[in-house]
């Protein structure tokens, strides 16, 4: 039987094709369990309907999320100071790194000095490094730290760091594909973003070379 049909809540369980089935448990070597797996596969092809991804972007994001998971699990074997150093070497500020990991800057500084971090914090750091490396490698982003710090939409200060810190890494990966409409990404992040970030003021370089603020021309 397929994963769907082995749901204890009956065919498919309640709703949601978005819920991932449990991982297949490894079968024993040879013997009846292996045979039943072959039978299952044959049966699966026999009069079964299979929903495929029609939206290739959704499929792509699912694939990248799984790669992200896998790479994070690899990187988490490194110690925290190493993880932090590798992220910093990409050009992120310590404030940016703290924001991405979801902690305070002093916490990051303590870890750099060798203080112990929880397993979750170390995983979070590994996940930041993994996301950065994936974006560099898959989407050929040359300066990933600058990419993370760039405003997503014109006239709006929201960056990929803000998306990631708001626990929307899927939007970060979509943005990285280069095929996503930045305004759609912004709407997924904040449906009211145009109003939220509308301003009657503008920043300009004044005669002393510093940045100042003035009202916009109407």
């Amino acid at each position: 039987m397929s994963d769907e049909e082995t749901s204890p809540a009956g065919p498919r369980g309640t709703a949601s094709t978005d819920i991932t089935p449990p991982p297949k448990l490894p079968t024993s070597t040879g013997g009846p369990a292996a045979w039943s797996e072959l039978t299952e596969r044959a049966g699966h092809l026999n009069n079964r309907a299979q929903i495929l991804y029609n939206d290739t972007d959704d499929l792509h994001i699912d694939v990248i999320m799984q790669e992200w998971q896998s790479k994070s699990s690899d990187f988490v074997r490194q110690d925290m100071p190493t993880l932090l150093r590798r992220i910093a070497d990409l050009g992120f500020s310590w404030r940016g790194i703290a924001r991405l990991i979801g902690v305070s800057v002093p916490a990051v500084q303590k870890w750099r000095r060798g203080h112990a971090a929880t397993g979750q914090s170390r995983f979070n750091a590994a996940a930041v490094l993994a996301a950065s490396v994936l974006i560099e490698q898959h989407y050929l982003v040359q300066d990933v730290a600058s990419w993370f710090e760039a405003p997503i939409a014109f006239g709006c200060p929201v960056t990929a760091i803000d998306l990631y810190a708001a626990k929307k890494p899927q939007l970060v990966f979509r943005l990285a594909t280069g095929r996503a409409d930045p305004e759609q990404i912004m709407s997924a992040f904040d449906p009211d973003w145009r109003e939220t970030y509308r301003s009657d003021f503008e920043v300009f370089e004044s005669e002393d070379g510093g940045l100042s603020i003035r009202a916009k021309d109407r």
Partner: protein, 266 residues
């Protein structure tokens, strides 16, 4: 009945309510327009789903079928109602209260029955998917016993006493409440996500690390008679199906999880 708790850092990532009915044609464009009008204040965003089905039968070439399933979402895309050929589903990744969810179910069922009524209620399910993530799992997966009821650890505890380290496990328990009602609880240590973030619903997505899945599906299925698909029937059943869920969840977690994780905003 166990008092319902509200947590600032609740682990629930998806709640779904699904009312299944006999096969019915998908809503026509005109019907979709009417449903959209009825749901505009709660689900203003039309977001049809494209499904592609591959049918393969022995002795015949595979066929590919495309269908566009009407779906309407909130502006922040965390909640949506889908009107499929076999079910009306309301799903949310931003669960507030049962009362709020059931109100969305009510208006969705009302809209369906007003515009293109279906013939009966075959199954009603209420599903809560929890991804329990904690600061640290010490001593490998057996460390989950600090956070969840030991009954969910299965053979892992016995293995530990024999020097065997469990790498993964999963379990399921199905409770029979009679009159066609059951509660299926699936659980186990996992990695990544139970609800993939790339889907049409936006969800809050932490890094893809270890978590403990607690998937509670409370459902009713028609046995002898298929009742009418009415708002009253669906809503009464919803309340009944919701009743054991809190108690099960609270009974399957530890006080440490409540204090250090669920009541902790950060």
């Amino acid at each position: 009945m166990v008092e319902r708790q509200r947590y600032s850092n609740a682990p629930v990532v998806l709640v779904a309510a699904e009312a299944r009915h006999p096969d019915a044609p998908l809503l026509s464009p005109g019907e979709q327009g009417e449903v959209k009008r009825l749901l505009a204040s709660n689900f203003p965003l039309p977001q049809p789903l494209q499904n592609t089905r591959l049918r393969a039968a022995v002795g015949a070439p595979p066929t590919v079928e495309h269908e566009i399933v009407p779906r309407f979402a909130t502006r922040d895309q965390t909640t949506a109602v889908t009107f499929g050929a076999q079910a009306v589903s309301v799903e949310t990744t931003k669960y507030e209260t049962f009362e709020h969810l059931s109100e969305l179910v009510r208006i969705s069922i009302e809209a369906r029955q007003k515009v293109a009524p279906v013939d009966g209620l075959m199954r009603l399910g209420l599903r809560y998917v929890n991804e329990i993530r904690v600061p640290d799992i010490c001593n490998g997966v057996i460390g989950w016993r600090e956070w969840i009821n030991a009954s969910l650890l299965g053979a892992a505890q016995v293995g530990t006493s024999l020097g065997l380290t469990a790498e993964q496990w999963q379990g399921a328990t199905v409770f029979n409440r009679g009159d066609g009602r059951q509660v299926a609880v699936q659980y186990g240590s996992r990695e990544g996500f139970a609800v993939m973030p790339g889907g049409p619903l936006q969800r809050s997505t932490p890094p893809p690390g270890p978590f403990f899945l607690l998937d509670i599906d409370s459902f009713w299925a028609a046995t002898v008679e298929v009742p009418e698909f009415t708002v009253e029937t669906v809503m009464n059943l919803c309340v009944d199906l919701h009743e054991p869920i809190s108690g099960l969840f609270e009974g399957l977690i530890t006080e440490r999880l409540r204090e250090e994780v669920l009541r902790n905003v950060r």
